[in-house]
Amino acid sequence: SQQGEEDPQALSIQEGENATMNCSYKTSINNLQWYRQNSGRGLVHLILIRSNEREKHSGRLRVTLDTSKKSSSLLITASRAADTASYFCATERENNFNKFYFGSGTKLNVKP
């Protein structure tokens, strides 16, 4: 499969704790994107990191990318109950514009 894999599949934490999700992929990429999906809804884009970038921040989100290991991580700091959702990574392969490969997602539950 060309798809990425997220790890863990499910994560349950208390409000205020940090949540870390990992994504691994198989082929060379142009970029990697993280999305959030609230139950039964569409996906919302969170952050994009290019293959020549190693780390990116957006508010409480921190994304790292290690192209040598073909892996990425998403860190949500000081989590809130509203962060409860599924999180997906998506890769866009080099020289393959518009062909996105999504992982199966991490289901995050933040308990108040």
Binding site: Q33, L43, L48, N98
Partner: protein, 114 residues
């Protein structure tokens, strides 16, 4: 704000019926996509379109066709619905031709084929 709308949130059809799923975006995006989402499998790309009347197959095009007659509208067609096409269908759009552009998703259509 980009808005991507899908014609139905829930749809129930019978095996063998022809099914149309419609998607409309209001931001003049060149690229539009159809995915299906199944538990444990993530999103899988069915088809995408990079211009009016232009389309390319994704990973799982079998049993589906698409139509893009106007820039803002992208339709997914199930020629003869089957029970294994029961799924959540998500439409997305994307600006331009640069790799760093992101996708914007619609709310999804949950299709049940009986």
């Amino acid at each position: 704000d980009v808005k991507v709308t899908q014609s139905s949130r829930y749809l129930v059809k019978r095996t063998g019926e022809k099914v149309f799923l419609e998607c409309v975006q209001d931001m003049d995006h060149e690229n539009m996509f159809w995915y299906r989402q199944d538990p444990g499998l993530g999103l899988r790309l069915i088809y995408f379109s990079y211009d009016v009347k232009m389309k390319e197959k994704g990973d799982i095009p079998e049993g589906y066709s698409v139509s893009r007659e106007k820039k803002e509208r992208f339709s997914l067609i199930l020629e003869s619905a089957s029970t294994n096409q029961t799924s959540m269908y998500l439409c997305a759009s994307r600006q331009g031709t640069r790799f760093q552009e992101t996708q914007y998703f619609g709310p999804g259509t949950r299709l049940l084929v009986l």
